[in-house]
Symmetry: C2
Subunit: 327 residues, 2 copies
Amino acid sequence: MIRIGIYGYGNLGRGIEAAIRQNSDLTLAAVFTRRDPKTVVLKTAGVPVYRAEDAQKHKDEIDVMIMCGGSATDLPMQTPMLAGLFNVVDSFDTHARIPEHFAKVDEVARKAGTTAIISVGWDPGMFSLNRLYASAVLPDGKDYTFWGKGVSQGHSDAIRRIEGVVDAKQYTVPVEGALSAVRSGACPELTVRQKHTRECFVVAEDGADLEKIENEIKTMPNYFADYDTTVHFISAEELKRDHSGIPHGGSVIRTGKTGFSGENTHVIEYSLKLDSNPEFTASVIVSYARAAARLAERGESGCKTVLDIPPSMLSSETPEELRKRLL
Amino acid sequence: MIRIGIYGYGNLGRGIEAAIRQNSDLTLAAVFTRRDPKTVVLKTAGVPVYRAEDAQKHKDEIDVMIMCGGSATDLPMQTPMLAGLFNVVDSFDTHARIPEHFAKVDEVARKAGTTAIISVGWDPGMFSLNRLYASAVLPDGKDYTFWGKGVSQGHSDAIRRIEGVVDAKQYTVPVEGALSAVRSGACPELTVRQKHTRECFVVAEDGADLEKIENEIKTMPNYFADYDTTVHFISAEELKRDHSGIPHGGSVIRTGKTGFSGENTHVIEYSLKLDSNPEFTASVIVSYARAAARLAERGESGCKTVLDIPPSMLSSETPEELRKRLL
């Protein structure tokens, strides 16, 4: 049995708790929280909830600690800290800062003799893997990543910060025409605007200036200004009824040429359609927690990413079973 | 530079020769053939062609030997034999016999201190990897593999053996309705007949009994009897004009549930659309030849499959570059 700790009990932490139940070789050993542990009610009976700052006291009860904080401020601080005590897995997803995060975690983990796997999930994660496999196999080619249709938490939050907005949900939507062009093997050059549109469902305060809100959304730099954006004003009831899920997904597509004169074209596509972004992310993380426990057992300390992990380490089945059943 | 040998110069061997040119860290060192080497003309100037039986003499000229024989009779004999002398990669694709082939190659490679990677290509190969990743991530789910639309060499050969048939090409075609049902997450139970149809283009001898040929095809056990099969009689010119390519492809789809009561459904799909089956297979093999050379350098001898190889080993880029560019 691999004993898992959950560090942070939000959407992702609850997803981890659910995912552990689907894997008979994993068990939830404890949850660590910054809230008052007495106020945290788990779905799993008999599992202790501890204060985050007491983690060190429970070092011997946990084989792998799964870091469930946010990438903006929690993980850059927490993962290196906890990697000094535990084998850890996180889902750090600020793409541009991964090399820096890797270096920090690697240094701590090497010193402590622990194993860390960072940036696990679907992007970064399964999408990264597929970009790697496809580009290794088709070196003369081009990659495309499309996201959606799905809810972007960051964009929804940005809308909520606008004056007069009560609540909002933003969907990132891939442009069908761009997807078809890429899938045809045509290898088009696509601008940001040509790849995705943004669709916003906004609940405004009574009497708010809707035109002003819509304009503020559509011209918001980085978030919306470079996209074709649609804004729908709806009631709080409609938002709750029609937009309370957190679906997401997308596709990684690589097209490339082979042959002595590049005469043959190939299209590789990996795509996800997810009802629940945090639950799927949790499912990926849990399989890499198994790999982290195995690497630690072999004494392979330091920081790794999904790109470094042999696929068979993710599975509870033996190599013999996998060869027989899946090859 | 990793020096590659090609053992067997047919469609796959030529694909390997073309793929090596797309990878600047690989070089074609020699081709080995059972034919008279004088009759074999390579596309690459200055590369020697040797007799297959002289391979041992050229042990020090080759870092990885790529086995390009057939799975029916060549590879079961050749891969274990050559693994005693070289690091080898093969594309052994008789799924049911992989455990046995693995055991034979592993024994020889361990004794000789060489590294072997077997069953590399797209199925087995990239499809196997995707079955593994998807089933590790969604343990409560179900896998589907669809093939095509593409040319099945084995089925085309079976038609050619019928009396009165001059030439033939058989396409395996996935049933669109079955694909859509699986992609919807519905998790249907599908019979062989419900998943694929078979479409045959046949050139018959002048005066042959077409009805008899069609009936023989449609009732052929193992190959066609379990499928809905369509037979088109065409001229030799039409066959050459419209059916001389070797396209293939397909999809691995896994659907699964997550959540405390399985309330969320996810669909993972990996799909390939290939203009040339042997050239794509060759491209996959060449990236695993790089991995074989690296494993050998680390002293990791014995037999491996794609399931055991860390993804980053397939790429010519450094781990730092990969983390920065692909994660």
